[in-house]
């Protein structure tokens, strides 16, 4: 689990996020928000935070609660890190980020324990492990630590939503196939044969693999189409000349 916060991961996160989003270039505020939904989705594109994505998505409710908790921690710590980025010495920035993140994780954990004790129990250690979720540390390192508060919060909201989208996709597939229910409501009646494997750990790996396969297929098709269009444009220009 602690392997998640390796420098390589942080680098990867920083790389995925800061590509084309330099601090000085003027970026429309909508862009900071929207990019996390799909184009730079933290799970489906940057492949960060796979541990909770595999471990707690066996039902929609668990996925949603995990997504909300992570969203809260991400937005809160991005806000605080961005606001205090001028006071944090560069040498101890990771430590400081972790402390800030841990504060919000503690708040989230206590809130979950008070509000939804059943789901808190089902999530187990994974709420506490949000601390080492590399989406969160990655966003602090790559974005909040070097951008103004407003943009950082927008970025965190976008990335948090992107994480939630991925969690809900995983949770829906696994709960519908694995139990025949959605949010606990039976979809197909009693005649449905549940695919028990889908709520077991292997089901998480299979589902993630198929979701990533679909995403990669769409991206590939889009890239091919863009290249076709470009070639077409070049041909038109050449013919005109």
């Amino acid at each position: 689990m602690s392997g998640e916060v390796s420098p390589a991961d942080l680098h990867c996160g920083a790389h995925g996020a800061s590509a084309g989003v330099g601090p000085r270039r003027a970026v429309p505020p909508g862009e900071d928000l929207v990019k996390g939904f799909w184009r730079e989705n933290p799970v489906l594109v940057q492949l960060l935070g796979l541990c909770p994505t595999l471990a707690v998505t066996n039902s929609v409710a668990n996925s949603a609660v995990m997504g909300i908790a992570t969203f809260f921690v991400l937005v809160g710590s991005s806000l605080l890190v961005s606001a205090s980025r001028r006071f944090i010495p560069n040498e101890v920035r990771i430590t400081s980020y972790i402390l800030i993140i841990a504060t919000f994780v503690s708040i989230a954990e206590m809130a979950l324990q008070a509000l939804v004790p059943d789901i808190h129990k089902a999530l187990g250690a994974f709420v506490a492990l949000i601390v080492v979720n590399c989406i969160i540390l990655g966003r602090q390192e790559a974005f909040a630590g070097r951008n103004p508060v407003g943009r950082s919060v927008l970025d965190a909201v976008g990335m948090g939503s992107g994480f939630m989208i991925a969690m809900l996709i995983m949770g829906s597939v696994r709960e519908v196939l694995g139990s025949g229910t959605f949010l606990g409501v039976s979809l197909f009646g009693p005649g449905f044969e549940p695919w028990v494997i889908m709520v077991l750990p292997p089901g998480g790996f299979f589902t993630l693999a198929f979701v990533l396969l679909t995403v990669a297929w769409f991206k590939r098709r889009k890239a091919l189409k863009a290249r076709e269009a470009e070639r077409h444009d070049v041909a038109v220009v050449e013919r005109a000349a």
């Binding site: 449905f192 044969e193 695919w195 028990v196 494997i197 292997p202």
Partner: protein, 335 residues
């Protein structure tokens, strides 16, 4: 220079005339008697279940394989072997799913024929076992309720659970031994008149069909030999310790899927070691694991998981047992 007897080509100069399709279709042909006996014992359900599993495998191979390896028969073997490991009353859609999973996840994602680490048929069965545990452990008794009667609700619609039909089901000999300490007469095991999956019932026949392949050198006889030896030795030793608790070697050898697994699954040309010493180690490890899982594991039968686990070690075995290059001093390639 046009005299062909003066032309010198690179070795090999003698070829056996074997090709992948020839080997694969010979294996399919050698399975025919086993399929026939399964049909004799379990009625029309047996060929239907096997056909559904084969259809799943072939359709997936046809849809996703870019190398055009459909004609070589390897997907057909996977489908039939998977069908032989299923209970006769399994709904056809589940058998189809198992075949599709075995070929898709077990073989094609690794790059197709020759690239897979695990035996595709067993992977398909492992998936079905984990996905549909109840349907996969409902064992119809052979020759009960007339030959023509279906042995379960095999025509259940996709995603629907099978309805409970009035078929006679019973525990497998291994299940009875493990949970009730009740032995089954050896003759029933050898001839196959016990409940179990389609191909795990007639040990003697599988031994004959596999033996034919071994004579043709299409499977390495060292693998089944070492599996049988390891199972027999460990089982005899345990039996000597406590005859009431641990069954003897003959029971262990002829019950469950051991014969089919040892003859057809473990000897898969792709997922078994290439060196002869490697094959001995491979078989011995499988045999040992089979006894360990059967006696101390939570499941009654352990052949499937034993083979899959040892499959994972095959690349390692290939490296450990690499022969010395002729004329060189020590081990050569160690990369």
């Amino acid at each position: 220079m046009s005299n062909p007897s003066l032309l010198i080509t690179a070795s090999p100069h003698l070829a056996a005339g074997d090709s992948t399709p020839k080997i694969m279709w010979t294996v399919v042909a050698s399975l025919a008697p086993i399929v026939a006996v399964a049909t004799y014992f379990f009625g029309p359900s047996a060929p239907l279940v096997m056909a559904a599993a084969t259809a799943g495998a072939v359709v997936t191979e046809r849809a996703f394989d870019r190398r055009g390896t459909l004609h070589d028969g390897s997907a057909v073997i996977t489908g039939i072997l998977l069908g032989l490991t299923l209970p006769a009353g399994l709904p056809l859609w589940m058998a189809f799913t198992g075949g599709a999973f075995g070929i898709g996840i077990g073989k094609l994602v690794f790059g197709g024929l020759g690239q897979n680490v695990f035996n595709p048929a067993l992977l398909g069965r492992a998936f079905l076992q984990a996905a549909f545990p109840v349907a996969m452990t409902t064992w119809p008794v052979p020759a009960a309720g007339g030959w023509w009667s279906l042995r379960g609700d095999i025509f259940a619609l996709p995603f629907a659970s099978p309805r409970a039909l009035e078929t006679v089901t019973g525990a497998t000999p291994l299940g009875r031994m493990k949970f009730d300490l009740q032995a089954t007469p050896l003759l029933d095991l050898v001839l196959g008149t016990t409940s179990g999956s389609l191909g795990e019932t007639s040990g003697l026949l599988i031994l004959l069909c596999g033996g034919y392949l071994a004579l043709r050198n299409y499977l390495n006889w060292r693998i089944p030999a070492s599996i049988f030896a390891a199972v027999a030795i460990v089982a005899t030793g345990l039996h000597a310790l406590d005859p009431a608790r641990y069954p003897g070697a003959a029971f262990m050898l002829f019950s469950g899927g051991l014969m089919l697994g040892a003859m057809y699954m473990a000897t898969d040309l792709v997922t078994s070691p290439v060196t002869n010493p490697g094959c001995w180690i491979f078989g011995a490890a499988i045999g040992l694991l089979v006894v360990v899982i059967r006696i101390w594991g939570g499941l009654a039968e352990g052949v499937m998981y034993s083979i899959l686990i040892v499959n994972a070690f095959v690349p390692l075995l290939n490296r450990w047992t690499q022969p010395r290059l002729f004329g060189s001093a020590g081990r050569t390639v160690r990369s």
